[in-house]
């Protein structure tokens, strides 16, 4: 695979980690928990998905050799701890989360391809990277997981990681494929947020 614009990806990666860590910390805040629980939820949500991706594709776990993502998660927990909960507008967070999952979906697929994973499992790795942190957060908090909510969420990520893999296999340069795939995922997710776009339910 031709190299992606790495600095852009790394910034998106850390931004997504921070957004997920904040969403985990806010669950702890909602339950009136302690600082240690804030940190635990921030780390599980922030790096959970990428950790599973790295284990599956045989890569060294990304936050073990390089502690920056861990510092970002613990910093996010501290910031949420020190601020009133009302400051964190739910709508704003939803949009940051949309940026985060779309970036993670493309980034996760790109990293899997770099490790020689075939196209279909690579697209799945994008979905795992973007969605598993939120699932860990929900299971630990005992609330219904994002995967069983009707609104389009996982689907937007799958559209992004899937189209990225397809565009690359059609010979599109990586940077362009990444931007197109990110934009597609983001538009799908934005329609879900603003218009309630949802998938049909099983009715048989």
């Amino acid at each position: 695979m031709p190299p992606l614009p790495i600095p852009t990806l790394q910034i998106l990666d850390l931004l997504a980690t921070a957004v997920f860590a904040i969403s985990g910390s806010l669950v702890a805040a909602g339950a009136r928990q302690t600082m240690v629980t804030f940190a635990f939820f921030a780390v599980a949500t922030g790096v959970g998905g990428g950790t599973v991706r790295d284990l599956f594709i045989g890569a060294p776990v990304f936050w073990i050799a390089n502690p920056v993502p861990l510092v970002v998660c613990l910093g996010a927990a501290l910031v949420v701890w020190c601020t009133p909960r009302g400051w964190w507008a739910e709508r704003a967070l939803e949009w940051f989360d949309a940026i985060g999952i779309c970036a993670y979906g493309v980034y996760g697929a790109a990293k899997a391809l770099e490790y020689g994973v075939p196209a279909l499992p690579s697209a799945v790795m994008g979905v795992i990277t973007a969605c598993l942190g939120g699932i860990f957060r929900d299971v630990l908090a005992g609330v219904p997981s994002i995967v069983i909510r009707p609104e389009i969420y996982v689907t937007a990520v799958a559209a992004g990681s899937g189209s990225f893999v397809i565009l690359l296999s059609l010979g599109v340069p990586a940077a362009i494929a990444a931007m197109v795939a990110f934009a597609l995922a983001f538009v799908v997710r934005a329609l879900a947020i603003t218009r309630g776009l949802a998938l049909p339910h099983y009715e048989r």
Copy 2:
């Protein structure tokens, strides 16, 4: 270890993956979910146990390098999505599931032994391969897990993977050991299905 009849094992392996993926998809169908949730439950249930086994024994995750199991899972989700739920007779599924867990128990132990894992942990790997996918399905769906139901289920798998490891260590050829162990596990599980065979409960 002398080689197992690989083609037979591979067919059993894919059959078990398909059965587990169907049982995962049916949970999504019961909750009137969307196609994406069907796919998610199909993959988690279908390849979950073998994935954990591979991570534990240090093998490459089996569906990363070879996408066939993933295609089987996604295909199973699509088939369930396209058919009325009434078509899937619970009794028939229970018997397919019985074949699946017994095959997976022996196959998981055999793969662990091939990777140089000692006898006892190899038998445990058989249990993990067969049972963890169903546990993921149940935890994600928020229903009581198979491990805490009274009916004999995990025990049948343990009888199969344990007897396989013991027979091999007694010098029985691998193909015969696999068939005897599979038959033993299947008879135990069949008695649980038809006669309600159950283990004693703790009463102290």
Copy 3:
């Protein structure tokens, strides 16, 4: 890192495994489960935390090559199965558990450092080693996890693994650092058990 007093650590390690396995088995006993469920909870609680640590730091999973911890877990399940539940005084178990988590916190951080992991992730590995087995037990049993209880628990482990890493980086010999860190963690946890020491809650 200079070598730790390995035999002492290994004994503490197996003691902690046994205590965790007993606490897992007692959950199965409380639910009037079968011997197989006892074994399942004993193994998940006893070796769960160390397993995740080993996967994260890229070490071979400790109970795969050497079956002793598995034998300890299965033995603990059998002992609990054969004894009346009233024999297991909750208070005594709480103290054994305190020894277990403090030993595991230091041991987990030490093992991570040995594998070349930087200081901050190594301290986190100590927390994961000590706390994840109990989290698995609670999630499988469907009860609120230790991480969201107010009493100081995870914090004591973090104090131990964090101070161990800091002392080593200040040049303190490993054996002394391990003893001081263990003692600090144990004192914090003991104050939580005897005086109800707790962290402040989020109140904003």
